[in-house]
């Protein structure tokens, strides 16, 4: 959600943006942004089509949104394949919507992409932050740049994540409040842009863009 909205906002600000949905088993950006009926062009490689001004790449072009049960090596091979043959053109930003955790996609992006910045998203839950904490620790150990942590779906005032982020030497980029209108806006970018959620993304973009 954050990745898709961030891509839209960066495009809105006049940047050239690509969005790559790297969650092969649970892709969702096409649902969030209401993208359908598009297919990449083939010309010396694969050219992602423009969707809301974004160069958009998703496994759903090839999976027809059917279940794609992939084991670790399969995920890695598919990531390498897509990165090898996709022609993004000149982009200011390539936003990669990652699956949660520190599995194959995270490890592959770390080893394959030299200039990479991680923006880590957590919910206010102690359980969620436990996963985030491990991710941050790994990124720090591997000397991978982290922009910071943003807290999503905040329902009541809380300092748990901001305090833990500080302890983990990671910038806390702010809270995105839970927005009950967001669900109804999914699939329509114009409605999405009117949500409080998107307003928070606008603020976030000023900090990271």
């Amino acid at each position: 959600m954050v990745a898709s909205a961030l891509a839209i906002r960066l495009k809105e600000k006049g940047h050239s943006v690509g969005l790559l949905d790297l969650d092969f088993t649970s892709p969702s950006s096409h649902v969030i942004l209401g993208i359908e009926g598009l297919y990449p062009e083939e010309e010396y490689g694969i050219i992602p089509p423009l969707a809301h001004g974004l160069r958009y790449m998703s496994i759903t072009y090839y999976s027809q949104d059917e279940p794609a049960p992939l084991r670790g090596a399969d995920t890695s091979n598919a990531i390498i394949e897509i990165l090898a043959v996709t022609l993004w053109g000149n982009l200011d930003y390539l936003i990669v919507d990652m699956p949660p955790g520190i599995g194959d996609a995270t490890l592959d992006m770390i080893r394959l992409i030299k200039r990479i910045l991680f923006l880590v998203v957590s919910t206010p839950s102690k359980v969620a932050y436990e996963t985030v904490r491990k991710q941050i620790k790994l990124l720090h150990e591997l000397d991978i740049s982290t922009i910071g942590v943003v807290e999503n779906m905040v329902m009541k005032p809380t300092t748990y994540v901001s305090e833990r982020a500080g302890e983990d030497n990671t910038a806390y980029l702010g809270a995105i409040n839970y927005d009950p209108t967001l669900e109804d806006a999914l699939g329509c970018v114009e409605l999405l842009k009117k949500t409080e959620f998107y307003g928070s993304i606008v603020d976030l973009t000023e900090k990271v863009g």
């Binding site: 490689g45 072009y61 090839y62 027809q64 794609a68 598919a78 394949e81």
Partner: protein, 135 residues
């Protein structure tokens, strides 16, 4: 033709491997073409020829077809890949991302999508030959 992008990958990998091995002049590049990816050999060879760099200007390209062999992790059944009965959309999906085989192909015995590709997934740089010093 995305064979072009794959050919670029082969050339750049061969060049990198040659540099790492101290090979000054590459004389042959052997490429395995796995059946799953359904690469058009002629197009691929044409792309390789067009993408020659100075250090591979005289290299011979040898393409070796590799049959696609699959094995079910659930029941152990082994079978060969075939796109004979596939519609164009499915065939194309696997052509671009061979792992999409797990979306469209099921074990012929137990119908599980949980199989491994033993051989013939896609394009591999099988070997390079060359000389390490100028003659």
């Amino acid at each position: 033709m995305h064979e072009w992008a794959l050919a670029e990958g082969v050339i750049s990998t061969a060049t990198r491997v040659a540099e790492g091995q101290g090979i000054k002049k590459i004389t042959e590049i052997k490429v395995g073409i796995g059946e799953l990816q359904q690469i058009e050999h002629e197009i691929f060879l044409f792309a390789l020829e067009q993408l020659r760099t100075p250090n591979i200007k005289d290299a011979k390209f040898t393409l070796q077809a590799i049959k696609g062999r699959l094995r079910c992790r659930v029941c152990g059944e082994e079978w060969e890949f075939s796109n004979r009965d596939m519609d164009e959309e499915t065939s194309e999906a696997i052509h671009f991302v061979p792992e999409m085989a797990h979306v469209y192909i099921k074990c012929p015995s137990c119908e599980s999508p949980d199989f491994e590709v033993l051989e013939g997934r896609g394009v591999v740089l099988a070997s390079i030959s060359g000389v390490k010093e100028d003659n």
